[in-house]
């Protein structure tokens, strides 16, 4: 610490204070203040009051107290042999995406980074960011370098795909609070071109930060990769088949490729693809070919399959495997509480066998079901709502996440009140005849209309409506209107379950729809929609964040994720540890593992599979083309040209300047302060005791 440092002067002053106080407060013994000393003028004059400390221990105690106080307050600024003058703050970004595994580049970069951290000068602050699907900070400034190096060495290669800008922004944020005069980002990456191009339009954000991109070895790369497969289950001649198509991408020249398909761990098909004959065309091509396969399967059980490139040795083995799964077919349960002849025929077992299991309720008491065996869909006509039991049934179904389709064939005050609860208002003029109508305006993007965007299943515009109930929206979504603007279909927001409301009944007095070709397909589509199946999207990328919504009818407090063993559908032993995630408002949020494979979803502690998530690497990671140095980086740099108002940082080294909070967090500060307070207490007690004795 310099003698010219202001706190030094204050400290010296503070040391002088106790001496002065000690001398001023010293009690003089045998001193008598007397008013008539003039009658004693013949007595000798006493010496001047000696200004010399008498109680040395007390003086030393007081000085020690203040010394500790001064030390406590100057401690955070005290320079000693351990004080560091930070000359450089450096953030390493280690690319841990799939493409960086080419030719063991990742492990090489990993070792190099660990060595650099170990060998780093003490005057260099080091932070480490791992770039996976997101930027993860492995070590912050101030963390121990050996710990940082250890955390780098612990990293395992991932199949993730990430964004450079995310990592650079995190690094810039770290550097914004750094101490070094020189601020630097060192990128250990393969500089994949498409990875840079993702954020080419990002506005400049790197100011006074030097970026170093380690040079990528200039070497041609040969690679074959499987893209995400397209698989479906079909039924032919009463037998279920799995049909799969998978694309093989290539880079460089390759010979024939064998693609192996495995279901439940057993090889079920093998396809050989021949390379393109023209060498020039082959080198330019990115698609090697597409392999198709099909095999019989059990439709009542999960299809858990993987596709691999057999005996293929290329530079990036990580993209030679893809997985997919197909859930078992399960008949939907429908409780039909309607009198419509056409509905009963359409939903009869003869028509809906294998798709829907229909239970027709002639009487209300037939509808008693327990929670487990409840229907997926409740299909009813409004006149049955006069029964309180039916109304309760509908509400329970909706609150349990089940679907309801309601045909409004009659309006009574009770039904009107029920509809109001569902967000639909029945107009007063129900008795007035309506003009015959057709669908005029349709919410075509809605899933129930998906099959009817083409003419494959017929034209919905041909459907006529002779009669319908006049309803209007209060808190619902209108899906279709007549030419006169009257809503004919609604989707109400009445609970977790889906509720479709039709302002007519499937009766010939209301509409000719039951005899139109679209009737059965639409009914099936509507049932499928309101059934509330879980999200069909079960294919994800490694380490992707997922918001998983519980399917209808499932009540769970936790979602358990585990690696799936395809053979047994149990937990794979050599994969990641099972992950338990709490469910909040029927949703669970979690991050998937960073490797390719199947992930089993189970609810609470149930043994049965809830779902299987397929985790496949992004095909973009297989495009092994590099750009070094990346031109995008220049656009990220803030310079005087693009930001003249910014002032440049000083080139002088910066000493550590602590914030108030950082100073308070120092243990020594508290120790010194506590010791000073304790000594002050001793001093006070000592002083009081001495005074009492006198």
């Amino acid at each position: 610490m310099s003698l010219l440092y202001p706190l030094m002067a204050l400290g010296a002053l503070a040391l002088g204070v106790p001496i002065w106080l000690h001398l001023r407060r010293r009690d003089e013994k045998n001193l008598v203040e007397f008013p008539t000393l003039r009658f004693l003028d013949d007595q000798p004059v006493a010496q001047a009051r000696p200004m010399w400390p008498r109680n040395w221990p007390l003086l030393l105690l007081r000085m020690l107290c203040l010394l500790l106080l001064v030390a406590a307050f100057t401690w955070p600024y005290h320079e000693n042999e351990q004080t560091i003058i930070i000359e450089e703050s450096r953030v390493y970004i280690l690319d841990n995406t799939l493409s960086h595994q080419v030719g063991s580049r990742f492990s090489t970069a990993q070792d190099k980074l660990a060595e650099q951290i170990d060998a780093a000068d003490i005057r260099v602050q080091i932070g480490v960011i791992e770039l996976g699907s997101t930027a993860r900070v492995l070590a912050r400034f101030g963390d121990d370098n050996s710990a940082a190096a250890a955390s780098v060495r612990k990293l395992s290669p991932s199949a993730e795909r990430g964004d450079f800008v995310d990592a650079f922004r995190t690094a810039a944020e770290m550097l914004s609070t750094s101490l070094g005069a020189k601020r630097r980002i060192v990128l250990l990456s393969d500089s994949q071109t498409n990875q840079w191009l993702l954020d080419a339009d990002t506005p400049p954000f790197l100011q006074n930060i030097e970026v170093e991109v380690l040079k990528v070895p200039d070497k041609s790369v040969d690679n074959l990769a499987l893209s995400a497969p397209q698989a479906r289950r079909s039924t032919r001649d009463g037998e279920a088949w799995v049909e799969v198509a998978v694309t093989v991408q290539s880079q460089g020249t390759h010979g024939p490729v064998d693609i192996v398909f495995r279901d439940r761990g057993q090889e079920v098909d093998r396809v050989s693809l021949q390379p393109v004959s023209d060498t020039a065309e082959a080198e330019a091509a990115t698609t090697f070919g597409t392999a198709f396969a099909q095999w019989k399967t059990d439709s009542t059980n999960w299809t858990v399959a993987e596709i691999t490139l057999d005996d293929n040795v290329d530079d990036l083995p990580g993209d030679n495997r893809v997985v997919f799964s197909i859930p078992p077919i399960r008949e939907g349960k429908v409780d039909l509480i309607a009198d419509s002849f056409f509905l009963r025929r359409a939903l009869s077992p003869e028509v809906m066998k294998g798709r829907w299991n229909i239970s027709v309720a002639d009487q209300d008491d037939l509808l008693d079901r327990d929670e487990e065996s409840g229907p997926d869909v409740l299909c009813l006509e409004s006149h049955r709502l006069k029964s309180a039991k039916v109304r309760s049934l509908v509400r329970d179904a909706l609150s349990a996440g089940r679907g309801v389709i309601l045909f409004v064939d009659k309006i009574t005050p009770v039904i009107s009140g029920f509809l109001r609860d569902m967000g639909i208002e029945a107009e007063a003029s129900q008795d007035e005849p309506v003009q015959p109508a057709t669908f005029r305006y349709v919410y075509a993007e809605h899933p129930v209309f998906d099959p009817f965007r083409t003419a494959k299943y017929g034209n919905l515009a041909e459907v006529e409506f002779k009669n319908y109930r006049r309803l209007k929206v209060r808190d619902a979504t209108s899906l279709a209107f007549s030419a006169s603007g009257d809503p004919l279909m609604f989707e109400a927001n009445a609970g977790p379950g889906r509720l479709l409301v039709f302002s007519f009944a499937f009766d010939r007095s209301d509409t000719n729809w039951p005899i139109h070709p679209t009737f059965i397909p639409f009914l099936d589509q509507a049932l499928q929609y309101v059934r509330g199946k879980p999200a069909t999207w079960t294919s994800f990328q490694p380490a992707e964040s997922v918001v998983w919504e519980l399917p209808a009818g499932v009540q769970a407090e936790q979602v358990v994720l585990s690696a799936l063993d395809p053979a047994t559908l149990g937990v794979a032993a050599d994969a990641f540890e099972p992950l338990v995630v709490d469910v909040n408002e029927r949703k669970a949020t979690f991050a998937l593992p960073s490797q390719v494979g199947h992930v089993a979803v189970r609810y609470d502690l149930a043994e049965t599979l809830g779902a299987i998530l397929d985790v496949n690497a992004s095909p973009l990671e297989s495009e092994l083309r590099y750009e070094s140095p990346p031109t995008v980086l220049a656009g990220w740099q803030r310079t005087a040209d693009n930001d003249a108002s910014e002032t440049l940082a000083s080139d002088e080294p910066t000493t550590i300047s602590l914030s108030k909070m950082e100073a308070l967090q120092q243990r020594n500060w508290w120790y010194l302060l506590t010791a000073a307070m304790a000594l002050f207490m001793v001093e006070t007690i000592w002083g009081l005791t001495a005074k009492h004795k006198q």
Binding site: V32, F34, P35, R38, Q43
Partner: protein, 306 residues
């Protein structure tokens, strides 16, 4: 007027009680009430009052003022009314030099505190009989003398107490200066009550007292002294520090006592002679003793002046 029985009064005074009383008002009341209760009859009854008229008795009137003789004569209940004479103006003058803050181990207050208490007590007595009372002080911290014009209003008592309470002793001798202020400020013939330890050379203040006397003022000198000053009871050698001029002397009390006492006696004698010459009543009030003598002196003198 009956002079209080000194022995009876002594029984009514407790220095410990006095030292426990914090408020100047309470101290003064303690002294005055004790003094009055010790008298056989009120010192003021019949003093400076003249019969003015009769009026009919009204229920609730003080029966002491009922004229029984008239009742015997005429069978009428009448109350005597009196007019009190109030032609006396009294000034309390309090010395605030640093020596006045001395308080010996046996004293119930410092010399200044005793002076203030006596001043308030006498003010209380005077206001009870409608005398006009004023105050004159001169503190070191203030350049000008604090002067309260004499008045016989009841509120004057609070004014006096407030002023006296704020007095503090500090600085060197200034009695001569205080007397000069008094000479300039008091023009009508008045009674001057001086509370001081007179720890100054007589040369400086003799002239002032002579002027006061020449102007016709009646001065009563209450010389407030501590037992330590009068008897010099110290035994151990010590450094003595003068309160006014800061002189420090190493004193062996045993050796110095005889010399001190003789000089102090000479000092007292000198003042006693001066006041005798000037015909000014003078009494020494000890800070460890009862204050009745001062009050008795005052009453006697007042009676004489009336």
């Amino acid at each position: 007027m009956t002079v209080p029985n000194h022995q009876r009064l002594m029984e009514r005074f407790d220095p410990k009680v006095m030292s426990l009383l914090q408020s100047l008002d309470l101290k003064a009341r303690y002294i005055v009430e004790g003094f009055l209760n010790g008298l056989h009859r009120s010192p003021f009854h019949g003093v400076s009052v003249e019969f003015s008229e009769y009026r009919d008795y009204q229920p609730g009137d003080d029966l002491r003022h009922l004229d029984w003789q008239l009742y015997a004569r005429s069978n009428r209940l009448c109350i005597k009314k009196y007019t009190q004479e109030t032609n006396v103006r009294v000034f309390a003058v309090v010395d605030t030099s640093a020596s006045m803050k001395y308080q010996g181990s046996d004293a119930w207050g410092s010399k200044l505190e005793v002076s203030k208490t006596l001043a308030v007590a006498l003010t209380s007595l005077m206001l009870r009989q409608n005398d006009a009372v004023g105050l004159l002080t001169l503190e070191e911290s203030k350049d000008v003398a604090e002067f309260i014009r004499p008045s016989q209003k009841p509120s004057q008592f609070g004014l006096m107490i407030n002023q006296l309470q704020n007095l503090s002793a500090a600085g060197g001798p200034r009695l001569a200066e205080l007397l000069q202020h008094m000479i300039r400020l008091i023009h009508r013939r008045s009674i001057v009550l001086l509370f001081s330890d007179l720890q100054e050379d007589t040369a400086g203040i003799t002239e002032a007292f002579q002027q006061l006397r020449f102007m016709g003022h009646e001065c009563m000198i209450f010389q407030v002294l501590d037992r330590d000053e009068l008897e010099f009871p110290f035994t151990d050698s010590a450094v003595f520090h003068d309160l006014e001029d800061g002189t420090r002397r190493l004193i062996d009390p045993t050796a110095a006592r005889a010399s001190y006492l003789s000089k102090f006696e000479a000092f007292l004698t000198e003042y006693r002679d001066l006041f005798q010459t000037l015909e000014m009543p003078h009494c020494v009030v000890r800070t460890d003793g009862e204050p009745w003598e001062a009050l008795t002196l005052f009453l006697n003198e007042r009676r004489r002046l009336m």
